[in-house]
Amino acid sequence: MKKAILALLPGLVLLAFWEWASGRLIREIYVSKPSAIAVRLYELFATGEILPHLVVTLQELVLGYLVGVLSGVVVGYWLGRSPRVAAVVEPYVMAFYGIPKIALAPLFIIWFGIGIGSKIALAGIMVFFLTFYNVYTGVRNVDREYANLALIMGAKERQLTRHVYLPAAAPFVLLGMRMAIPYSVIGVIVGEFASSTRGLGLFINQASSTYDPAGVFAGIVILLAFILVANIGAARLERRLLRWRPQAAAQSNDI
């Protein structure tokens, strides 16, 4: 409890300074101020103005994330277990990995339209590469001796996956899933900036072009809340699934 208060303190000091400095050191039109943002947030929810944007963005985030994680796990696992295929494919994957995914936004708009499809695709591909890479590395690093021992004990291929490769790679899979959270948000928001009819990205964009800094910050606060909640979920999942690791008990931060 004491630790929680201590952790909150710098944040509170920053907010207080922001509130004080706004209009004194910097013009409010650039940075708004916490009280104005809070009021704006309240208005947005009270009038329901933000809800259609929220629903759309949430959909895009969840779907994009799921598509990316699932495909990343499947392809990463498969390539990790097939070294010969991997040797051929790896250079291509790495080349694609190097492309700034944001540059694909205009292309995806053409392919998938200005609706949620293009945002799901953009978030999905960013999440895919991160998850893929972690799962691939994780599976390749599984100690051969464990797999051999399971085979000697009579494991079939499916059992080898379930009882050896997946649990052994789980720390990498979960790390990838966690790292991918902010990237899914980036993918969705960039997609919405590029072209959209609804969504938090669009809302932020509009607020900025109508000189409504409180609105911009309100949108950002909502995004931050998404990421925070997702991170807490990921940390919970990690602690449940990785109970067996010696360090698991020691690390307990949620964010």
Partner: protein, 257 residues
């Protein structure tokens, strides 16, 4: 004539190293009849674990053949039980999950699995640790868990790579006695690798003595002591001194040279 359960036929092996091929096994031949207990002793690093890897199908000899029931071993051998030199309990499973796993692979019903796990853990003195993860167990406890995990599914052939090395003297004697009883009841064929001549003589029907690297068979010493043998007081076992002396005579040249 019945084919021996296990046969090494003129097996040689070299490992590739940066300095060129390093011969580790040099024309080793010996065989084991079904239901017999063979101990293999030899100086550290001579190639004992390498021989066992071949039996487990994890390594193909550069020359010669390893057969089981007349058939050449090709690919991972899932007809044997293997207790590796490192315990290799799966770190992501609790002790009881580890011990149950081979029975999961062999479709033993859950209720029977639980019962057998409970009994074997009591046998190896690990009841009360069923829900511990491997990293919460001491080295000796992990070793006992690893032994339990193999004995519990009663394979016909059991390969053990220095299973008792990491244990304290008392636990070791208890485990040796357990193993002796289990093997007698199951009629398993056992290959035991050890550094310990006393252990070899007390448990085995035959002791195979290997030379320093590259390993050759120096001697095969049959041990005809009556069973069961009192592992707690070896020197009270009639004929023990004599058998020990025979093995030591053949071994000393390799150790003391």
């Amino acid at each position: 004539m019945v084919a021996p359960e296990i046969a090494f036929e003129n097996v040689s092996h070299s490992f590739a190293t940066p300095a060129g091929p390093m011969p580790v096994i040099d024309d080793v031949s010996f065989e084991m009849a079904r239901g017999t207990f063979t101990a293999v002793i030899g100086p550290s690093g001579c190639g004992k674990s390498t021989l066992l890897q071949m039996l487990a199908g994890l390594l193909k000899p550069s020359k010669g053949r390893v057969r089981q029931s007349g058939r050449e071993i090709a690919g991972v051998n899932s007809t044997i039980g293997f207790i590796p030199q490192q315990s290799l309990l799966f770190p992501w499973y609790t002790l009881s999950q580890n011990v149950a796993l081979p029975m999961v692979f062999k479709n033993v019903p859950a209720a029977e699995r639980e019962e057998r796990v409970r009994r074997i853990l009591a046998d190896v003195g690990l009841d009360g640790f069923a829900d511990h993860y491997p990293h919460q167990l001491s080295g000796g406890m992990q070793k006992r868990g690893s032994i339990a995990r193999t004995l519990v599914y009663r394979p016909d052939v059991i390969l053990m790579d220095e299973p008792f090395g990491a244990l304290d003297a008392q636990t070791r004697m208890v485990m040796q006695d357990d193993l002796q009883g289990l093997v007698a009841r199951q009629g398993a064929t056992v290959v035991l690798i050890t550094h310990d001549i006393t252990e070899a003589v007390l448990l085995a029907d035959e002791v195979v003595v290997l030379s320093r690297r590259p390993a050759r068979v120096i001697a095969r010493v049959p041990i005809a002591l009556a069973r069961p043998r009192n592992v707690f007081e070896p020197f009270a076992v009639p004929g023990f001194d004599d058998a020990y002396g025979q093995v030591w005579q053949r071994f000393r040249a390799e150790v003391l040279a």
